[in-house]
Symmetry: C2
Subunit: 416 residues, 2 copies
């Protein structure tokens, strides 16, 4: 083992140091809590799949972004690109043993050989919820209700869950004499750019795709005055019953989503400030599972943009009480009083209080500096004076306040 050069990280990949991990785990736990409250169970699948399972599913552009290679056994394999292809494989393989409806959440790292940019990484965590095997718009409403609950629980408020329906859009295009499915999807992909690129560019592109000026102006007129269909109305009524306030869910005809596979209601969550693109995206896909090689089952679901949501939580400082570390107390390693320190640590740990005894005999100011740098909220000293008086000295590292507390009362105070 020779001495080697300083190792580097790959571009588009990230390290998560403890402080960042604390935020991520906090957000993740909110996700999981709400998913489970609605009866969703966890699923995990491999990071590597046969390349044939991954490729040819979402078109050439997506295929280019799949990391593929030959493994040591000569198999063509790839890193998973999303969690939808794996769940369709699961449904295909375990169809007999999975009761329907199948409500699963899946939280895993996925990989895209994309150009790295802000909030866009080559390795990122995808959080998907899906309900497989239910046609009722109640299932779509439940997915949206979960998103609403999670955002509120995270302290977010200025968000809107935009809702539309592919059926509504297809009907609109048919009225404009755009009847071929491929053409319809192509037009929708252009309209999807409205928010990012503005109306002028979208009109240009629609012209290039062969729409007449009249079709284009009619399209925009109709997008403005179009209304919900019966299915969407039913979905909105379910949302109300699920206690989702009306101001957070909005019928948004211009929101069409880029992916081809949606067949019914579609939904996206946007935040007004900062305007950073959608934080969730999903919808109903009644043919996708079978197209991906699974059984013929309907489905609806959403991806939650975990990394983006973490970024928003950070920017909006919605973590007032989250310490940089899980450790609640550092107990100073006071020369000659180590046994007392470790006895106290044992006692605190029995009472579920996370603590450290400083592991070496170093000057006390260095130990305090460690607590400060690590962000540990309290420091305890047990030295000769304290032992005599049967107390500990407790310092609040934030306020600098210092007081003596009876050993018997320290647990209560730190748990309170």
């Amino acid at each position: 083992m020779a001495k080697i050069i300083k190792p580097q990280r790959l571009p588009g990949f990230r390290d998560f140091l403890p402080e960042e991990m604390r935020l991520r785990n906090y957000v993740l736990n909110v996700f999981i809590e709400v998913f489970e409250l609605f009866g969703f169970d966890p699923l995990e699948t491999p990071t590597l799949e046969y390349a044939s399972t991954l490729l040819g599913k979402y078109g050439e552009e997506a295929d280019k972004m799949v990391y593929t290679f030959k493994d040591k056994g000569g198999r063509e394999v790839g890193l998973i690109y999303d969690l939808t292809v794996p769940v369709s494989r699961i449904l295909s393989v375990y169809h007999q043993q999975i009761p329907l409806p199948f409500k699963r959440y899946q939280i895993q790292r996925v990989y895209r050989a994309d150009k790295p940019q802000k909030s866009r990484y080559r390795e990122f965590t995808q959080c998907d919820i899906d309900i497989i095997g239910v046609k009722s718009p109640l299932a779509d409403a439940e997915v949206v209700a979960i998103i609403y609950r999670i955002f509120k629980k995270l302290g977010l408020d200025d968000f809107t869950i935009q809702i539309n329906s592919r059926q509504v859009l297809f009907k609109l295009l048919e009225n404009l004499e755009i009847k071929e499915e491929k053409k319809q999807l192509s037009v929708l992909q252009t309209v999807d750019k409205l928010r990012k690129q503005g109306r002028e560019k979208v009109e240009d592109e629609l012209g290039k795709k062969g729409l007449s000026s009249k079709q284009i102006s009619d399209l925009f007129k109709q997008l403005e005055k179009i209304t919900c269909d019966k299915n969407l109305e039913e979905m909105f009524s379910y949302l109300k019953k699920l206690n989702v306030p009306q101001e957070y869910v909005k019928f948004t005809p211009s929101m069409v989503r880029g992916l081809d596979y949606y067949t019914g209601p579609i939904f996206e969550t946007v935040i007004n400030d900062p305007p950073i693109g959608s934080l969730t995206g999903g919808g109903r896909y009644d043919n996708l599972i079978s197209l991906l090689g699974g059984p013929d089952l309907t489905g609806t679901g959403s991806t939650l943009g975990f990394d983006r949501i973490c970024d928003v939580i950070k920017e909006k400082k919605l973590l007032p009480n989250l310490a940089k570390t899980a450790t609640a107390v550092l107990i100073i390693n006071f020369p000659g009083f180590f046994d007392e320190a470790i006895q106290l640590a044992n006692k605190l740990r029995e009472n579920k209080i996370a603590c450290e005894v400083y592991l070496e005999e170093k000057p006390i100011d260095k130990q305090f500096k460690y607590a400060d740098r690590k962000g540990i909220p309290y420091v305890i000293i047990i030295g000769p004076d304290e032992v005599k008086k049967k107390v500990v000295k407790l310092k609040n590292m934030k306020t600098g306040e210092q007081k003596e507390i009876k050993i018997a009362e320290i647990v209560k105070l730190l748990n309170g």
Copy 2:
């Protein structure tokens, strides 16, 4: 998107359906709780690293097991083989901003292109704890205390944490006139096979490695009567102070661990029944971080064999109360009484009770069958009779017992 053939899973990779995930999450949460009680914070790093970071670290055999390939940018990359190489990269890159001692836990999937066999997979979850920057055997003792706590908390009892020291072993070999470091390590690698292959085979191999019969018989004699050195004695005294009962930790001279990089105390956890190899393995490595390209820091730590521990928990049926699903109740979708069902679901969820309303109007026996297959412990019916009486009908799916309960009392009962 053409209809494709039924997708398959790669050999050596695994799917985790909800019931399995429940077990894994339960075990993982015990790990994390204990890690944090001792002041460890989480760290995560990329799944992909430069191949140069991964290769040439643990010898040719290990290199053969690293999944490497060329990415789309022409970089030689690889899937991580363990979590020790990444943490040394972290220490190298973030040395300035990480306060020492650095106590981190890291739980991630790692990859080895190994032959798949029982409890041995190509993708598995590694759980590592390490204390970087502390020379005192208190750090080694803390790592062992954490392992003890976790095993006890999981309900395991017939385990032994075997402890030995590389220093003790090196001294023993020097007494036998085996003084060259490479030779010493080679001899230890053979002695490491004692438990798996038996004494005869080990003697053979030692003979082939050039040890005389006298050296071999002296080696075994000395292994039997050897005693702790001062450093190990200190470690055992710390274990006592950390409330680890003596019967769980045993000085075991014949336990030498295979890896070359250990420099001080080494530890392994074995379980007597079933005898499935070590469940944890670790030790002190005072040169490793710098050898891996990081700064010159001492370290000690352990890997917990998450997958194996899950297997043991399952075999020993140590999960008496863990349901197959997080869902506590299924509320029947009773024709004409959907609003009542969903109102109750809202109320239960507000009180943190995980529940489902069956999402379609299907025959009630089908809905019960769903609850049964999914392993949901309770089913609630609200139909015309129940609404009239202001009660719900609650069925315990395990006992079959059925009773009427006032709506006001249902939360208390399910939370109790």
